[in-house]
């Protein structure tokens, strides 16, 4: 059974293959979409009552109670921030607002303190270490996919969850998956088969746009306050989707430095160029 819903600002597809009556499959898929909705509600920049928006509105240094999901995502973000020496940085919110990728919020333009984690955590409390505008778009989709998979896996069978291109499969089935050719995104490159793993891809073909004379993209180099404009697509294979999602950002922004990190996270990075060449990063 295969269903799709608009969630997380994109389309989430769930494909479940299991020996069960239709009503049961329906129920399981509905529960998995509910898990995705929960993450969406907590981490959406667009919702003013999300944990993320509450954290963004809070003064720096003030502790905010957050849901355990949010705490886990912030914790992984800090981990990736440190491990990538600041390349992965959730303080990209200000640039994204400025470039029109996120709705208008009051933003403060401050130099990014290098080496300081954007957020401090204490159990289920979080506080900003500066007047940042945070965005979790680089990791929340992957995390939502993992929660949906966790929910579905409990029922057995094989399945696939795809949230706007961040996907993960579970069970014994081998799933054929595809990448889009960056030079012609309507063309697909067969990739896979994928068994029990996650695949995330970062690319500009749907999101690059002009701001006056400049070309911008939602892939932000926070340290330089510049968008990534290289048009090749970067994909990462990992055991889980949150890690794959986060690592694609790092691999896209700093491909030559990503190998170590990819190996450390037991992941595989690939670049698909405009000329159609596919190469490994590690």
């Amino acid at each position: 059974m295969r269903r799709a819903r608009p969630l997380l600002g994109t389309f989430v597809v769930i494909d479940l293959r299991a020996r069960a009556p239709e009503a049961e499959l329906e129920r399981r898929i509905r529960a998995a979409f509910q898990a995705v909705s929960e993450v969406d509600a907590l981490m959406s920049f667009h919702r003013c009552d999300s944990d993320l928006s509450r954290l963004n509105r809070a003064r720096q240094g003030r502790w905010i109670a957050v849901h355990p999901h949010t705490a886990r995502v912030l914790s992984l973000s800090n981990e990736l921030f440190t491990a990538s020496a600041g390349i992965f940085d959730v303080r990209c919110g200000a640039a994204l607002v400025e470039w029109g990728y996120l709705p208008n919020r009051k933003i403060v333009s401050v130099p990014m303190a290098l080496g300081v984690c954007p957020v401090e955590l204490d159990g289920d409390r979080a506080r900003k270490t500066g007047p940042w505008t945070l965005d979790l778009g680089g990791i929340a989709k992957g995390y939502a996919v993992d929660r949906a998979v966790e929910c579905l896996r409990a029922g057995g069978g094989s399945g696939l969850v795809n949230a706007g291109g961040d996907l993960r499969v579970f069970g014994r089935r081998a799933w054929p998956v595809f990448l889009r050719e960056p030079s012609a995104p309507g063309l697909l490159r067969p990739f896979g088969p994928l068994v029990n793993g996650a695949l995330a891809t970062s690319a500009l073909y749907f999101s690059e746009k002009r701001r006056g004379p400049w070309l911008v993209s939602p892939l932000v180099d926070v340290r330089k306050r510049k968008p990534l404009t290289r048009r090749s697509s970067v994909s990462v294979l990992s055991a889980d989707c949150a890690v794959a999602d986060g690592l694609t950002k790092i691999a896209a922004l700093a491909p030559s430095q990503a190998a170590d990190l990819l190996n450390r996270y037991n992941s595989k990075g690939l670049v698909l160029s405009l000329n159609g060449r596919l190469r490994s990063l590690n």
Partner: protein, 170 residues
């Protein structure tokens, strides 16, 4: 030489389409076990203006496909056209006027994508714009950059206002 000729020749367009649910199955999914009946409702110019003003979204057609259930519960079928895709979806509305659920019925990619690099054109020797649009109905699980569902979210706002207009008719 050949590349020079091909630059003038557009590639054959392959269009991907996927159907998840038919209308009546969507209604069953949104309101399991409840009896619903389909209707084509017609919006007056006044209705359309009201919906556009309150939702901030343009109404593209005066005809609305709505399934009515017990207690003024409803499922409205709507479609939106994005930059790359054409989507038909169903919105379940409770008797309180709030969304009970959203299901996508079908999804079709609509554009032949422009090719940026000449090398790619070499693959399409002999194909021209006269070639028919092929619809690829195989399910393809794609890991790619994210497509935005904003137009669906905006459409849902319009659908909810449309429900209010239709409900008040009695």
């Amino acid at each position: 030489m050949i590349a020079g000729v091909l630059i003038a020749a557009p590639m054959a367009q392959v269009v991907r389409a996927e159907t998840y649910l038919t209308e009546d199955r969507a209604v069953q999914a949104l309101f399991p076990g409840k009896p619903f009946r389909p209707q084509w409702a017609e919006l007056s110019p006044g209705d359309i203006k009201k919906i556009q003003d309150t939702s901030g979204e343009r109404v593209l057609s005066p005809r609305v496909r709505v399934w009515w259930g017990p207690g003024r519960q409803a499922v409205l079928i709507d479609r939106v056209i994005g930059k790359h895709e054409y989507i038909t979806y169903a919105v379940g509305v409770g008797s309180d006027g709030r969304i009970s659920g959203v299901e996508i019925l079908d999804y079709r990619e609509t554009r032949g994508y422009e090719i940026r690099r000449p090398q790619w054109r070499k693959q399409f020797v002999g194909k021209t714009a006269a070639d028919p649009l092929r619809v690829n109905k195989d399910i393809q699980n794609i890991s790619g950059a994210t497509l935005s569902s904003t137009h669906v979210t905006n459409g849902i706002r319009r659908v909810l206002e449309t429900y209010q207009v239709l409900k008040d008719r009695g």
